[in-house]
């Protein structure tokens, strides 16, 4: 009994409620005419799409920079990488990995500057990060118009310059990971093997990194910066490294998302990508000081499961579109919950 009690305490009621809710959605799905196999396939797909964006939050949480509300910076680095890859007309795996490689210099530069800034505002990282994200997205809104891209599939047709709001990656690297070794069962179920393998690979790399000397130092900086300093570790350096890694993973995350989703979304599109990622890792059981791979994977699965199932099931029951409302309530509610729990931990 005691084990169960501590398990519930550790796991947290919100997660249990969400889990039970998700299970009930799966149970009721067939009753309202939603195909279970298609739903499950969808859940896997969306899980793969978002998981790396969620994973990108881990290094900064571990190093004590809190939740990366400025993940939009990483996403923009990824957008620069993918648009450059399209501009160079790289196709197939070459295009996908080319996009990642091209985004690397941007993410390292942006991450470094962003990390320097966060080192100057210790204690207020999350608020500052949010505004960094917002303002950089707006700056890029101008840049997308004036940067000299010229590939006809990307620019506005009537002017011949300035990037479109959405650019298709079809014909370049659409579903390049999703279709790699994909397993098809029947008409509706596709298991995106390549996508999940890539997610698994990234999570494994992060796990290995956190167990390395640098990763250990990073965790110690997050736990007690003074202790780390007295042990000869530079807290600022570790924090900057964590921000760079987080930004680069954000870039990889959005490229993985694009190949599955099919479009590169520009202009204000990065902003609404951030909150769901943060909500997902919090649902997974992370708090603002500690996050693990399990938190990432469980959280993404629960959150994306919820987002996939609620529109189809609830909408069929209520005959109205509630999905966006539920997404908002769950993601913002979860962030609120996590931020209030911060005080409890501090006690």
């Amino acid at each position: 009994m005691r084990n169960l009690k501590t398990f519930i305490q550790d796991f947290g009621w919100p997660r249990i409620i969400i889990f039970l809710f998700l299970v009930s959605l799966f149970v009721f799905a067939p009753a309202v005419g939603v195909r279970l196999d298609a739903s499950i396939s969808d859940v896997f797909n969306r899980f793969g799409q978002y998981a790396i964006l969620v994973l990108a939050l881990v290094p900064m949480i571990q190093s004590g920079c809190g939740l990366n509300f400025g993940l939009a910076l990483g996403i923009i680095a990824g957008l620069l990488g993918s648009t450059l890859s399209l501009q160079l007309e790289l196709r197939g795996f070459m295009g996908f990995f080319g996009a990642i490689a091209l985004s690397a210099p941007f993410s390292i530069l942006l991450g470094y500057l962003y990390g320097k800034l966060l080192n100057k505002v210790k204690g207020e990282e999350m608020t500052i990060a949010m505004y960094v994200g917002f303002s950089f997205v707006m700056l890029m809104c101008i840049m997308w118009l004036v940067l000299p891209y010229s590939n006809p599939t990307m620019v506005w047709g009537y002017a011949g310059k300035g990037l479109r709001t959405t650019i298709t990656v079809e014909g370049y690297w659409l579903k390049i990971l999703n279709d790699f070794l994909a397993i098809k069962v029947g008409r509706f179920f596709v298991f995106p093997t390549g996508l999940l393998l890539f997610v698994g690979f990234c999570a494994f790399c992060m796990w290995v990194f956190l167990r390395s000397k640098t990763g250990t130092a990073m965790t110690a900086v997050g736990s007690n910066p003074d202790f780390a300093r007295a042990s000869g570790v530079s807290a600022d350096k570790m924090r900057t490294i964590s921000v760079v890694i987080s930004t680069f993973l954000g870039a990889i995350g959005i490229i993985v998302y694009q190949q599955s989703f099919g479009f590169v979304q520009l202009y204000t599109a990065p902003t609404p990508m951030v909150f769901p990622a943060i909500a997902a890792i919090l649902i997974g059981g992370a708090n603002i000081n500690k996050a693990s791979m399990v938190n990432v994977l469980v959280g993404t699965f629960l959150f994306q499961g919820l987002l996939t199932m609620t529109p189809s099931v609830i909408n069929s029951v209520l005959q109205t579109d509630m999905s966006e409302v539920i997404r908002m309530i769950v993601s913002n509610g979860m962030i609120l919950y996590a931020l209030t729990r911060k005080m409890k931990v501090a006690k």
Binding site: V208, R211, S212, K213, T216, A217, T219, A220, S223, N224, D226, F227, R229, A230, S231, G232, V233, S234, N289, K290
Partner: protein, 544 residues
């Protein structure tokens, strides 16, 4: 009321926090009109016992307790302090719980005010009654009279001297008609000696009127003077329960510590010291509140060098500056090689280690496991506890080696914990200090700085910490520079003691020097040696 039976009896009380037993099978009785002196070191379980008695919620939150509390022979189990108050238990806490902006009277009768009914009562109920100030005043004054002290019943608490505050608290507890058991936790800690005497007189008077009193104090003199019976707690066990007649302070002290407390006899062994290992010239350190201005000293290999002095004179700045934690300048040479200042990693690399005085702030990763705490610095500085993967392409934490290291030190230093995976914040102060020492030992340093190693830990743990330092010095030849505000402890283990005054060294003395000489150095030469008092003021630090 039980005429002969005990008023309060505590039977087989046990309590554990996170698997650490803090109380084990404690039983004692308190009779009407009896004063029971409860003594024990910090961490012996006194406060926990009183919290259980008073039904503090923290007990239930951490898993409750075993055993029973009987009041007049009837079992009582309090779920909150209000139940305890209703049952007639009054408690005076270490910290004042008075409202500063209220008068003595208002504080004494708080929440039990005498009231006139008013017209509004018909509509809003009792909450709208009017205070009957004259009756309140009479009640307060009668409670004060019971104590036998003079207090102005209309004085604001914020304007009172501390002694009066303490009396106001006690008056509040005894003004309850039902109060028959009064618990006082360190009531005299903040009082001057004359005030304390008055308080003890009041307690005796109260006891004559039939109130049972549990008196907790570090001042053993008072306990012997006032108590009818003395209960000694040690490591959660009630080791003694004796009538106080014929008991001396020395007896109690040795029961508390569990070993003889005769002053540490310095072994007059011949010390075999090597060449100079550390030389410090013109060191200045900008550490807030502990500024070092110009310090010169040298330490020989194998020596234990003590640094003492009053708080704020800069003794803490020395190790913090040499280790690079605060901006510093000057020349520091270790093994005749220049040590780069303001760079903690280089100082550690040079073969020095530091146990910080700020244990919780700098010394520990409170949220992490013990093996992390011990192995982390060695991992970062010497690259130990890492295993190569894929032929040395990259390295991974060697959890197994970390576990072995941690277990080794748990055994060696007798660290009380549930496992090497327990979080550092869950250990008691003394055990946390041992973790800090283990962290420094794991670096295998040539020179170890130890800053205030015994601050805030109890007498028993103090001795263990000092013994450990001495053992490392003797067995491994580790040179130790120890900074401490407690002169006695410096004198017990150091070979030489430097006294810091106003940011520079006032003088270096052998430990055998007369205490007055140290006092003169501490006070600055012109001053009188009375300031040596600080050396026997460990209680302050312990209560912090």
């Amino acid at each position: 009321m039980g005429q002969n039976g005990p008023l309060l009896s505590i039977k087989n009380i046990s309590k554990e926090f996170y698997g650490n037993v803090v109380l084990h099978d404690v039983s004692f009785d308190l009779h009407e009109g009896e004063i029971l002196g409860l003594v024990g070191e910090n961490g012996a379980g006194k406060t926990t016992l009183m919290r259980i008695l008073f039904g503090m919620p923290v007990i239930a939150e951490t898993g409750g307790f075993n055993g029973t509390i009987l009041i007049d022979g009837q079992e009582a189990r309090f779920s909150n302090p209000f139940d305890a108050l209703d049952a007639g238990i009054g408690m005076v806490h270490q910290e004042f719980s008075l409202i500063p902006g209220f008068t003595t009277t208002e504080n004494i009768v708080l929440n039990r005010e005498s009231m006139h009914p008013s017209l509004l009562n018909n509509v809003f109920g009792d909450r709208m009654s009017i205070l009957d100030r004259s009756v309140m005043k009479k009640r307060a004054e009668s409670a004060i009279a019971k104590l036998g002290v003079k207090l102005d019943s209309s004085m604001l608490v914020s304007e009172m001297p501390v002694g009066h505050k303490q009396f106001t608290e006690i008056a509040r507890e005894i003004s309850r008609e039902k109060t028959r058991v009064l618990v006082l936790d360190e009531p005299t800690a903040v009082l001057t000696e004359s005030e304390a005497e008055v308080l003890l007189g009041s307690l005796k008077r109260l006891a004559k009127e039939g109130v049972g009193i549990i008196f907790i104090s570090h001042r053993l003199q008072e306990v012997v003077e006032v108590a009818d019976r003395i209960v000694v707690l040690r490591d959660g066990l009630a080791v003694k329960n004796v009538p106080s007649s014929g008991v001396t302070i020395k007896d109690i002290a040795s029961w508390m510590v569990g070993r003889s407390v005769s002053a540490d006899v310095r072994s007059e062994e011949a010390r075999n010291l090597g060449a100079e290992i550390l030389s410090v010239e013109h060191l200045w350190v900008d550490m807030p509140g502990e500024t070092v201005r110009d310090v010169n000293f040298s330490v020989r290999s194998g020596e234990i060098f003590g640094i003492g002095g009053l708080a704020g004179q800069g003794k803490l700045g020395i190790p913090n500056g040499v280790m690079g934690l605060y901006p510093a300048g000057g020349a520091v040479r270790l093994h005749d090689k220049e040590v780069v200042l303001n760079a903690p990693a280089l100082a550690l690399n040079a073969g020095m280690a530091f146990v910080s005085e700020d244990r919780r702030g700098v010394g520990l990763l409170l949220e992490e496991s013990l093996d992390w705490n011990i192995a982390f610095t060695a991992m970062q500085i010497h690259g130990q506890y890492l295993k190569p993967i894929l032929g040395g392409l990259f390295t991974q934490r060697d959890e197994k080696a970390m576990y072995c290291l941690c277990e080794e030190y748990i055994k060696l230093l007798d660290i009380k914990c549930t496992s090497s995976k327990q979080k550092a914040k869950e250990l008691s102060g003394g055990n946390q200090q041992k973790i800090c020492l283990a962290k420094a030992f794991a670096l295998k340093p040539d020179l170890l700085f130890v800053s205030e190693p015994t601050r805030g830990i109890d007498v028993g743990a103090k001795k263990l910490v000092l013994d450990t330092l001495r053992k490392y010095n003797r067995e491994y030849g580790t040179t130790i520079v120890m900074v401490s505000s407690e002169l006695e402890e410096l004198r017990a283990i150091c070979d030489r003691i430097a006294i810091i005054d106003e940011g520079s060294i006032a003088g270096v003395l052998p430990p055998s020097a007369d205490i007055a000489e140290f006092g003169i150095l501490m006070a600055g030469v012109s001053d009188s040696p009375t300031k040596t008092k600080r050396a026997d003021a460990p209680q302050e630090a312990m209560n912090a």
